[in-house]
Protein backbone atom coordinates (compact mmCIF):
# COMPACT_ATOMS: atom_id res chain seq x y z
CA UNK A 1 0.00 0.00 0.00
CA UNK A 2 1.03 3.56 -0.59
CA UNK A 3 2.07 5.40 2.55
CA UNK A 4 -0.11 8.32 1.52
CA UNK A 5 -3.39 8.40 -0.34
CA UNK A 6 -3.45 10.20 -3.68
CA UNK A 7 -6.97 11.45 -4.26
CA UNK A 8 -8.58 12.96 -7.35
CA UNK A 9 -11.05 15.71 -6.50
CA UNK A 10 -13.95 15.98 -8.92
CA UNK A 11 -16.31 18.93 -9.01
CA UNK A 12 -19.91 18.25 -9.79
CA UNK A 13 -22.35 20.50 -11.59
CA UNK A 14 -25.68 19.46 -13.07
CA UNK A 15 -24.63 15.81 -13.05
CA UNK A 16 -21.45 16.57 -15.05
CA UNK A 17 -17.92 17.42 -13.98
CA UNK A 18 -16.30 20.84 -14.06
CA UNK A 19 -12.94 22.24 -13.08
CA UNK A 20 -12.45 25.73 -11.73
CA UNK A 21 -9.54 28.15 -11.51
CA UNK A 22 -9.23 30.04 -8.22
CA UNK A 23 -12.78 28.81 -7.64
CA UNK A 24 -13.98 30.62 -10.81
CA UNK A 25 -14.25 30.00 -14.57
CA UNK A 26 -15.89 26.58 -14.35
CA UNK A 27 -14.98 24.50 -17.38
CA UNK A 28 -16.89 21.35 -18.32
CA UNK A 29 -14.54 18.38 -18.24
CA UNK A 30 -16.88 15.48 -18.89
CA UNK A 31 -19.33 12.95 -17.61
CA UNK A 32 -18.95 11.90 -13.97
CA UNK A 33 -19.56 8.19 -14.48
CA UNK A 34 -17.08 8.04 -17.32
CA UNK A 35 -14.39 9.73 -15.21
CA UNK A 36 -15.03 7.34 -12.33
CA UNK A 37 -14.64 4.35 -14.63
CA UNK A 38 -11.24 5.65 -15.64
CA UNK A 39 -10.25 6.12 -12.00
CA UNK A 40 -11.46 2.57 -11.28
CA UNK A 41 -9.11 1.28 -13.94
CA UNK A 42 -6.26 3.25 -12.39
CA UNK A 43 -7.08 1.81 -8.95
CA UNK A 44 -7.09 5.15 -7.18
CA UNK A 45 -7.11 5.04 -3.38
CA UNK A 46 -10.12 7.25 -2.89
CA UNK A 47 -12.22 9.85 -4.68
CA UNK A 48 -13.54 13.18 -3.49
CA UNK A 49 -16.62 14.50 -5.27
CA UNK A 50 -17.72 18.02 -4.40
CA UNK A 51 -20.86 19.82 -5.50
CA UNK A 52 -19.33 23.25 -4.95
CA UNK A 53 -22.44 25.24 -5.88
CA UNK A 54 -24.91 23.37 -3.69
CA UNK A 55 -24.41 25.53 -0.58
CA UNK A 56 -23.93 28.71 -2.61
CA UNK A 57 -27.26 28.12 -4.31
CA UNK A 58 -28.81 26.88 -1.09
CA UNK A 59 -29.56 23.52 -2.70
CA UNK A 60 -29.88 20.09 -1.14
CA UNK A 61 -27.41 17.47 -2.28
CA UNK A 62 -28.41 15.78 -5.53
CA UNK A 63 -29.00 12.37 -3.95
CA UNK A 64 -29.80 10.65 -7.21
CA UNK A 65 -26.54 11.65 -8.87
CA UNK A 66 -24.60 10.83 -5.70
CA UNK A 67 -26.13 7.35 -5.64
CA UNK A 68 -25.29 6.83 -9.30
CA UNK A 69 -21.69 7.88 -8.69
CA UNK A 70 -21.27 5.79 -5.52
CA UNK A 71 -22.53 2.72 -7.35
CA UNK A 72 -19.79 3.11 -9.97
CA UNK A 73 -16.99 3.61 -7.46
CA UNK A 74 -14.96 0.50 -6.79
CA UNK A 75 -13.08 2.55 -4.22
CA UNK A 76 -14.11 4.61 -1.20
CA UNK A 77 -15.87 7.87 -1.95
CA UNK A 78 -16.03 11.16 -0.08
CA UNK A 79 -18.85 13.53 -1.00
CA UNK A 80 -19.24 17.20 -0.08
CA UNK A 81 -21.71 19.92 -0.96
CA UNK A 82 -24.98 21.13 0.52
CA UNK A 83 -25.07 18.72 3.47
CA UNK A 84 -26.85 20.69 6.16
CA UNK A 85 -28.47 18.16 8.48
CA UNK A 86 -28.00 14.73 10.02
CA UNK A 87 -30.79 13.55 7.76
CA UNK A 88 -28.91 14.71 4.63
CA UNK A 89 -25.82 12.92 5.92
CA UNK A 90 -27.72 9.69 6.59
CA UNK A 91 -29.19 9.71 3.11
CA UNK A 92 -25.75 10.19 1.60
CA UNK A 93 -24.23 7.31 3.57
CA UNK A 94 -27.19 5.19 2.47
CA UNK A 95 -26.30 6.05 -1.13
CA UNK A 96 -23.09 4.07 -0.55
CA UNK A 97 -20.79 7.01 0.22
CA UNK A 98 -18.13 6.32 2.87
CA UNK A 99 -17.27 9.87 3.94
CA UNK A 100 -18.91 13.24 4.00
CA UNK A 101 -17.04 16.50 3.64
CA UNK A 102 -18.53 19.50 5.42
CA UNK A 103 -17.69 23.14 5.05
CA UNK A 104 -20.61 25.59 5.04
CA UNK A 105 -22.61 23.63 7.61
CA UNK A 106 -19.53 23.09 9.79
CA UNK A 107 -18.78 26.83 9.82
CA UNK A 108 -22.37 27.67 10.70
CA UNK A 109 -23.07 24.83 13.05
CA UNK A 110 -20.15 22.74 14.36
CA UNK A 111 -22.74 20.76 16.34
CA UNK A 112 -23.62 19.00 13.10
CA UNK A 113 -20.05 17.69 12.84
CA UNK A 114 -20.53 16.21 16.30
CA UNK A 115 -23.93 14.72 15.51
CA UNK A 116 -22.69 13.00 12.35
CA UNK A 117 -19.45 11.84 13.98
CA UNK A 118 -21.34 10.36 16.91
CA UNK A 119 -23.62 8.38 14.65
CA UNK A 120 -21.20 7.34 11.89
CA UNK A 121 -17.74 7.76 13.45
CA UNK A 122 -15.20 10.55 13.05
CA UNK A 123 -13.57 8.70 10.18
CA UNK A 124 -16.69 9.28 8.14
CA UNK A 125 -16.53 13.08 8.60
CA UNK A 126 -14.07 15.35 6.82
CA UNK A 127 -14.08 19.11 7.19
CA UNK A 128 -13.10 21.06 4.12
CA UNK A 129 -11.34 24.32 4.90
CA UNK A 130 -10.66 26.84 2.15
CA UNK A 131 -7.91 29.36 2.74
CA UNK A 132 -7.40 32.50 0.68
CA UNK A 133 -4.95 35.37 1.00
CA UNK A 134 -6.36 38.79 1.80
CA UNK A 135 -5.13 42.01 0.16
CA UNK A 136 -2.21 42.12 2.58
CA UNK A 137 -1.22 38.57 1.68
CA UNK A 138 -2.39 37.13 4.99
CA UNK A 139 -3.95 33.68 4.93
CA UNK A 140 -7.60 33.76 5.93
CA UNK A 141 -10.25 31.07 6.15
CA UNK A 142 -12.67 31.58 3.29
CA UNK A 143 -16.35 30.67 3.34
CA UNK A 144 -16.90 29.52 -0.22
CA UNK A 145 -20.70 29.64 0.03
CA UNK A 146 -20.80 33.43 0.43
CA UNK A 147 -17.29 34.36 -0.72
CA UNK A 148 -16.37 35.99 2.59
CA UNK A 149 -13.15 35.82 4.54
CA UNK A 150 -13.55 34.75 8.14
CA UNK A 151 -11.93 36.54 11.07
CA UNK A 152 -11.38 33.47 13.23
CA UNK A 153 -7.77 32.31 12.87
CA UNK A 154 -7.17 28.98 11.12
CA UNK A 155 -5.66 27.52 14.27
CA UNK A 156 -8.70 28.19 16.44
CA UNK A 157 -11.14 27.01 13.78
CA UNK A 158 -9.31 23.76 13.06
CA UNK A 159 -9.02 22.94 16.74
CA UNK A 160 -12.70 23.66 17.26
CA UNK A 161 -13.83 21.45 14.37
CA UNK A 162 -11.53 18.55 15.25
CA UNK A 163 -12.73 18.77 18.85
CA UNK A 164 -16.27 18.70 17.48
CA UNK A 165 -15.54 15.33 15.87
CA UNK A 166 -14.01 15.89 12.43
CA UNK A 167 -11.82 12.92 11.59
CA UNK A 168 -9.94 14.50 8.72
CA UNK A 169 -9.18 17.95 7.30
CA UNK A 170 -9.14 18.81 3.61
CA UNK A 171 -7.08 22.00 3.42
CA UNK A 172 -7.44 23.86 0.18
CA UNK A 173 -5.49 26.90 -1.07
CA UNK A 174 -8.09 28.85 -3.05
CA UNK A 175 -5.53 31.08 -4.79
CA UNK A 176 -3.86 28.01 -6.25
CA UNK A 177 -7.01 26.13 -7.27
CA UNK A 178 -6.62 24.90 -10.84
CA UNK A 179 -3.41 26.86 -11.33
CA UNK A 180 -0.98 23.94 -11.45
CA UNK A 181 1.63 25.95 -9.54
CA UNK A 182 2.30 23.59 -6.63
CA UNK A 183 0.73 23.33 -3.18
CA UNK A 184 0.88 26.12 -0.61
CA UNK A 185 3.41 24.16 1.43
CA UNK A 186 3.50 26.64 4.29
CA UNK A 187 -0.26 26.21 4.67
CA UNK A 188 -0.01 22.41 4.49
CA UNK A 189 2.71 22.45 7.12
CA UNK A 190 0.78 24.78 9.40
CA UNK A 191 -2.45 22.79 9.17
CA UNK A 192 -0.68 19.45 9.66
CA UNK A 193 0.95 20.70 12.83
CA UNK A 194 -2.25 22.16 14.23
CA UNK A 195 -4.29 18.96 14.27
CA UNK A 196 -3.70 15.32 15.10
CA UNK A 197 -6.08 13.97 12.44
CA UNK A 198 -5.08 13.31 8.82
CA UNK A 199 -4.69 16.41 6.65
CA UNK A 200 -5.31 16.22 2.90
CA UNK A 201 -3.40 18.85 0.93
CA UNK A 202 -5.33 20.43 -1.92
CA UNK A 203 -4.90 23.25 -4.41
CA UNK A 204 -2.17 23.64 -7.01
CA UNK A 205 -0.68 20.16 -7.50
CA UNK A 206 0.98 19.76 -10.89
CA UNK A 207 3.44 16.90 -10.48
CA UNK A 208 4.50 13.87 -8.47
CA UNK A 209 7.15 16.08 -6.87
CA UNK A 210 4.38 18.31 -5.56
CA UNK A 211 2.80 15.29 -3.87
CA UNK A 212 6.12 14.43 -2.29
CA UNK A 213 6.64 17.99 -1.06
CA UNK A 214 3.18 18.12 0.52
CA UNK A 215 3.80 14.82 2.30
CA UNK A 216 7.17 16.07 3.50
CA UNK A 217 5.38 19.16 4.80
CA UNK A 218 3.17 16.90 6.90
CA UNK A 219 0.16 15.99 4.74
CA UNK A 220 -1.27 12.53 5.30
CA UNK A 221 -2.85 12.47 1.84
CA UNK A 222 -2.74 14.59 -1.30
CA UNK A 223 -5.62 15.67 -3.49
CA UNK A 224 -5.57 17.21 -6.95
CA UNK A 225 -8.08 18.29 -9.56
CA UNK A 226 -6.58 19.98 -12.61
CA UNK A 227 -3.52 17.71 -12.55
CA UNK A 228 -5.77 14.70 -13.12
CA UNK A 229 -8.10 16.26 -15.71
CA UNK A 230 -6.03 18.64 -17.84
CA UNK A 231 -3.17 18.00 -20.17
CA UNK A 232 -0.72 20.46 -21.71
CA UNK A 233 -0.52 24.25 -21.73
CA UNK A 234 -3.92 24.65 -23.37
CA UNK A 235 -5.63 22.65 -20.65
CA UNK A 236 -7.01 20.01 -22.97
CA UNK A 237 -9.28 17.68 -21.04
CA UNK A 238 -7.58 14.35 -20.48
CA UNK A 239 -8.33 12.28 -17.42
CA UNK A 240 -5.17 10.63 -16.16
CA UNK A 241 -3.67 9.20 -13.00
CA UNK A 242 -0.04 8.23 -12.43
CA UNK A 243 0.95 4.58 -12.52
CA UNK A 244 0.84 2.96 -9.11
CA UNK A 245 4.53 2.06 -9.43
CA UNK A 246 5.39 5.72 -9.98
CA UNK A 247 3.42 6.71 -6.90
CA UNK A 248 5.13 3.99 -4.90
CA UNK A 249 8.52 5.26 -5.98
CA UNK A 250 7.59 8.83 -5.14
CA UNK A 251 5.79 8.35 -1.84
CA UNK A 252 7.00 4.97 -0.60
CA UNK A 253 4.99 1.96 0.54
CA UNK A 254 3.88 0.59 3.85
CA UNK A 255 3.48 -3.11 4.42
Amino acid sequence: MLKNRVIPTLLLQDGGLIKTRKFKQPKYVGDAVNAIRIFNEKEVDELIVLDIYASRENRQPDFETIGRIAEECFMPLCYGGGVSSLEDASRIYQCGVEKISLQTAALRNPGLVTEIAQKYGSQAVTVSIDVKKDWLGRRKVYASANGKLIDEPLKALLKRLVDAGAGEVLINAVDRDGDLCGYDLALVEEASHLVNVPVIASGGAASLEDFKKAVDAGASAVAAGAYFVFHGPHRAVLITYPKYEELEQTLGVKS
Partner: protein
Protein backbone atom coordinates in the same frame (compact mmCIF):
# COMPACT_ATOMS: atom_id res chain seq x y z
CA UNK B 1 -20.26 -21.73 -17.43
CA UNK B 2 -23.89 -21.66 -18.43
CA UNK B 3 -25.97 -18.60 -17.67
CA UNK B 4 -27.36 -20.30 -14.56
CA UNK B 5 -23.88 -21.12 -13.33
CA UNK B 6 -22.94 -17.52 -12.78
CA UNK B 7 -26.16 -16.35 -11.18
CA UNK B 8 -25.74 -14.97 -7.72
CA UNK B 9 -28.42 -13.63 -5.38
CA UNK B 10 -27.63 -10.51 -3.40
CA UNK B 11 -29.81 -10.09 -0.33
CA UNK B 12 -31.53 -6.70 -0.43
CA UNK B 13 -32.86 -5.86 3.04
CA UNK B 14 -32.28 -2.16 3.62
CA UNK B 15 -29.19 -2.76 5.72
CA UNK B 16 -26.76 -2.23 2.89
CA UNK B 17 -26.42 -0.24 -0.25
CA UNK B 18 -26.07 -3.01 -2.77
CA UNK B 19 -25.49 -0.90 -5.91
CA UNK B 20 -21.72 -1.24 -5.96
CA UNK B 21 -21.96 -4.92 -4.92
CA UNK B 22 -24.12 -5.62 -8.00
CA UNK B 23 -21.74 -3.65 -10.23
CA UNK B 24 -18.65 -5.37 -8.92
CA UNK B 25 -20.24 -8.80 -9.32
CA UNK B 26 -21.06 -7.99 -12.94
CA UNK B 27 -17.47 -6.95 -13.45
CA UNK B 28 -16.36 -10.23 -11.87
CA UNK B 29 -18.38 -12.09 -14.51
CA UNK B 30 -21.41 -12.91 -12.38
CA UNK B 31 -25.06 -12.40 -13.11
CA UNK B 32 -26.25 -10.74 -9.90
CA UNK B 33 -29.94 -10.67 -8.99
CA UNK B 34 -31.57 -8.94 -6.05
CA UNK B 35 -33.27 -11.20 -3.52
CA UNK B 36 -35.59 -9.56 -1.02
CA UNK B 37 -38.24 -12.25 -0.40
CA UNK B 38 -38.21 -15.80 1.04
CA UNK B 39 -39.21 -17.15 -2.40
CA UNK B 40 -36.28 -15.42 -4.08
CA UNK B 41 -33.93 -16.84 -1.47
CA UNK B 42 -35.43 -20.32 -1.93
CA UNK B 43 -34.64 -20.06 -5.65
CA UNK B 44 -31.06 -18.84 -5.10
CA UNK B 45 -28.10 -20.97 -6.18
CA UNK B 46 -25.61 -18.92 -4.22
CA UNK B 47 -25.96 -15.93 -1.97
CA UNK B 48 -24.13 -12.76 -1.07
CA UNK B 49 -25.24 -11.24 2.24
CA UNK B 50 -23.95 -7.66 2.31
CA UNK B 51 -24.50 -5.30 5.22
CA UNK B 52 -23.47 -2.06 6.87
CA UNK B 53 -24.55 -0.41 10.09
CA UNK B 54 -25.61 -1.81 13.43
CA UNK B 55 -25.91 -5.54 14.17
CA UNK B 56 -29.43 -5.36 15.66
CA UNK B 57 -30.70 -3.25 12.79
CA UNK B 58 -29.39 -5.85 10.34
CA UNK B 59 -31.05 -8.75 12.19
CA UNK B 60 -34.27 -6.77 12.62
CA UNK B 61 -34.42 -6.08 8.89
CA UNK B 62 -33.93 -9.79 8.11
CA UNK B 63 -36.66 -10.78 10.60
CA UNK B 64 -39.05 -8.05 9.48
CA UNK B 65 -38.91 -9.36 5.93
CA UNK B 66 -39.29 -12.97 7.08
CA UNK B 67 -35.96 -13.88 5.49
CA UNK B 68 -34.31 -15.71 8.39
CA UNK B 69 -35.96 -19.12 7.83
CA UNK B 70 -35.27 -19.00 4.11
CA UNK B 71 -31.64 -18.03 4.76
CA UNK B 72 -31.23 -20.80 7.36
CA UNK B 73 -32.62 -23.30 4.91
CA UNK B 74 -30.32 -22.11 2.13
CA UNK B 75 -27.20 -22.05 4.31
CA UNK B 76 -27.77 -25.10 6.56
CA UNK B 77 -30.08 -27.49 4.69
CA UNK B 78 -29.59 -26.83 1.00
CA UNK B 79 -26.03 -25.85 1.89
CA UNK B 80 -25.63 -23.51 -1.05
CA UNK B 81 -22.59 -21.21 -1.03
CA UNK B 82 -23.14 -18.07 1.04
CA UNK B 83 -20.75 -15.19 1.44
CA UNK B 84 -21.25 -12.46 4.02
CA UNK B 85 -19.65 -9.06 3.51
CA UNK B 86 -18.81 -6.72 6.42
CA UNK B 87 -21.91 -6.70 8.68
CA UNK B 88 -23.16 -9.65 6.62
CA UNK B 89 -20.17 -11.67 7.84
CA UNK B 90 -20.90 -10.64 11.42
CA UNK B 91 -24.59 -11.60 11.14
CA UNK B 92 -23.47 -15.15 10.31
CA UNK B 93 -22.05 -15.40 13.85
CA UNK B 94 -23.90 -16.24 17.10
CA UNK B 95 -24.04 -12.79 18.60
CA UNK B 96 -22.33 -9.43 18.77
CA UNK B 97 -21.20 -7.11 21.53
CA UNK B 98 -22.80 -4.41 19.44
CA UNK B 99 -26.33 -5.59 20.05
CA UNK B 100 -28.86 -7.68 21.91
CA UNK B 101 -30.20 -9.77 19.03
CA UNK B 102 -29.05 -13.27 18.27
CA UNK B 103 -27.17 -13.60 15.04
CA UNK B 104 -27.88 -16.21 12.37
CA UNK B 105 -25.48 -18.45 14.28
CA UNK B 106 -24.20 -20.42 11.29
CA UNK B 107 -20.59 -20.00 12.31
CA UNK B 108 -19.13 -20.86 15.71
CA UNK B 109 -17.98 -17.30 16.15
CA UNK B 110 -18.83 -14.16 18.06
CA UNK B 111 -18.38 -10.48 17.32
CA UNK B 112 -16.41 -8.20 19.62
CA UNK B 113 -15.61 -4.52 19.79
CA UNK B 114 -12.15 -3.18 19.05
CA UNK B 115 -10.75 -2.04 22.39
CA UNK B 116 -7.51 -0.14 22.25
CA UNK B 117 -5.55 1.57 24.97
CA UNK B 118 -5.78 5.34 24.43
CA UNK B 119 -2.00 5.63 24.04
CA UNK B 120 -2.18 3.53 20.87
CA UNK B 121 -4.14 6.40 19.30
CA UNK B 122 -5.97 4.01 17.00
CA UNK B 123 -9.29 5.27 15.75
CA UNK B 124 -12.41 3.12 15.77
CA UNK B 125 -13.96 2.38 13.31
CA UNK B 126 -11.01 0.86 11.52
CA UNK B 127 -11.48 2.65 8.23
CA UNK B 128 -9.18 2.54 5.24
CA UNK B 129 -7.09 0.25 3.09
CA UNK B 130 -5.30 -2.62 4.75
CA UNK B 131 -3.58 -5.84 3.83
CA UNK B 132 -4.42 -9.43 4.71
CA UNK B 133 -2.26 -12.37 5.74
CA UNK B 134 -3.36 -15.82 4.58
CA UNK B 135 -3.66 -18.44 7.32
CA UNK B 136 -4.56 -21.46 5.21
CA UNK B 137 -5.14 -22.67 1.69
CA UNK B 138 -8.47 -21.51 0.41
CA UNK B 139 -10.39 -21.02 -2.83
CA UNK B 140 -11.15 -17.30 -2.34
CA UNK B 141 -7.58 -16.10 -2.23
CA UNK B 142 -5.33 -18.94 -3.37
CA UNK B 143 -2.35 -16.58 -3.46
CA UNK B 144 -1.71 -12.98 -2.54
CA UNK B 145 -0.82 -10.93 -5.55
CA UNK B 146 1.56 -8.01 -5.21
CA UNK B 147 -0.09 -4.93 -3.80
CA UNK B 148 -3.19 -6.83 -2.68
CA UNK B 149 -5.19 -4.52 -0.43
CA UNK B 150 -8.76 -4.27 0.75
CA UNK B 151 -10.96 -1.48 2.02
CA UNK B 152 -12.29 -1.81 5.58
CA UNK B 153 -14.90 0.13 7.57
CA UNK B 154 -15.85 -1.53 10.87
CA UNK B 155 -15.85 -1.06 14.65
CA UNK B 156 -16.44 -4.71 15.51
CA UNK B 157 -14.48 -7.82 14.60
CA UNK B 158 -15.18 -11.52 14.39
CA UNK B 159 -13.63 -14.08 16.73
CA UNK B 160 -13.84 -17.68 15.52
CA UNK B 161 -14.05 -20.55 18.05
CA UNK B 162 -12.15 -22.82 15.67
CA UNK B 163 -8.84 -21.59 14.33
CA UNK B 164 -9.33 -23.78 11.24
CA UNK B 165 -12.21 -21.53 10.13
CA UNK B 166 -9.83 -18.58 9.78
CA UNK B 167 -8.70 -18.00 6.20
CA UNK B 168 -7.03 -14.63 6.60
CA UNK B 169 -6.15 -12.14 9.28
CA UNK B 170 -5.50 -8.43 9.20
CA UNK B 171 -3.59 -6.29 11.63
CA UNK B 172 -5.08 -3.19 13.17
CA UNK B 173 -3.72 -2.72 16.66
CA UNK B 174 -4.12 -6.50 16.92
CA UNK B 175 -4.73 -9.38 14.55
CA UNK B 176 -8.36 -9.96 13.67
CA UNK B 177 -10.20 -12.31 11.32
CA UNK B 178 -10.65 -10.68 7.91
CA UNK B 179 -11.88 -13.79 6.02
CA UNK B 180 -13.47 -16.93 7.43
CA UNK B 181 -15.00 -20.02 5.91
CA UNK B 182 -16.50 -23.34 6.90
CA UNK B 183 -17.97 -25.68 4.32
CA UNK B 184 -20.31 -23.70 2.10
CA UNK B 185 -20.05 -20.56 4.24
CA UNK B 186 -17.69 -17.64 3.64
CA UNK B 187 -17.30 -14.20 5.14
CA UNK B 188 -15.15 -11.15 4.44
CA UNK B 189 -14.86 -8.25 6.89
CA UNK B 190 -13.70 -5.80 4.19
CA UNK B 191 -15.63 -4.52 1.20
CA UNK B 192 -14.61 -6.41 -1.96
CA UNK B 193 -16.90 -4.11 -3.94
CA UNK B 194 -14.77 -1.13 -2.88
CA UNK B 195 -11.42 -2.84 -3.33
CA UNK B 196 -10.70 -2.60 -7.04
CA UNK B 197 -9.41 -5.69 -8.84
CA UNK B 198 -8.43 -7.30 -5.54
CA UNK B 199 -12.05 -7.42 -4.44
CA UNK B 200 -13.16 -8.37 -7.94
CA UNK B 201 -10.72 -11.29 -7.96
CA UNK B 202 -12.06 -12.52 -4.64
CA UNK B 203 -15.65 -12.41 -5.88
CA UNK B 204 -14.65 -14.01 -9.14
CA UNK B 205 -12.89 -16.81 -7.23
CA UNK B 206 -16.02 -17.30 -5.11
CA UNK B 207 -18.00 -17.61 -8.31
CA UNK B 208 -15.60 -20.09 -9.91
CA UNK B 209 -15.27 -22.18 -6.78
CA UNK B 210 -19.03 -22.45 -6.47
CA UNK B 211 -19.88 -22.83 -10.17
CA UNK B 212 -20.70 -26.49 -9.81
CA UNK B 213 -21.97 -26.39 -6.28
Amino acid sequence: MTSMDNEISVIDYEAANIGSVLRMLEKAGAKPVRASTPAEIAAARRIILPGVGAFDHGMDQLHKRGLVDALNQAALERRIPVMGICLGMQLMCRSSEEGERRGLGWMDASVEKFRFAPDLRLAVPHMGWNTVRLCKENPLLPTLEDRTRFYFVHSFKVRCDHEEDVIAKTHYGEDFVSIFSRGNLFGAQFHPEKSHRFGMQLLSNFLKHTAHA
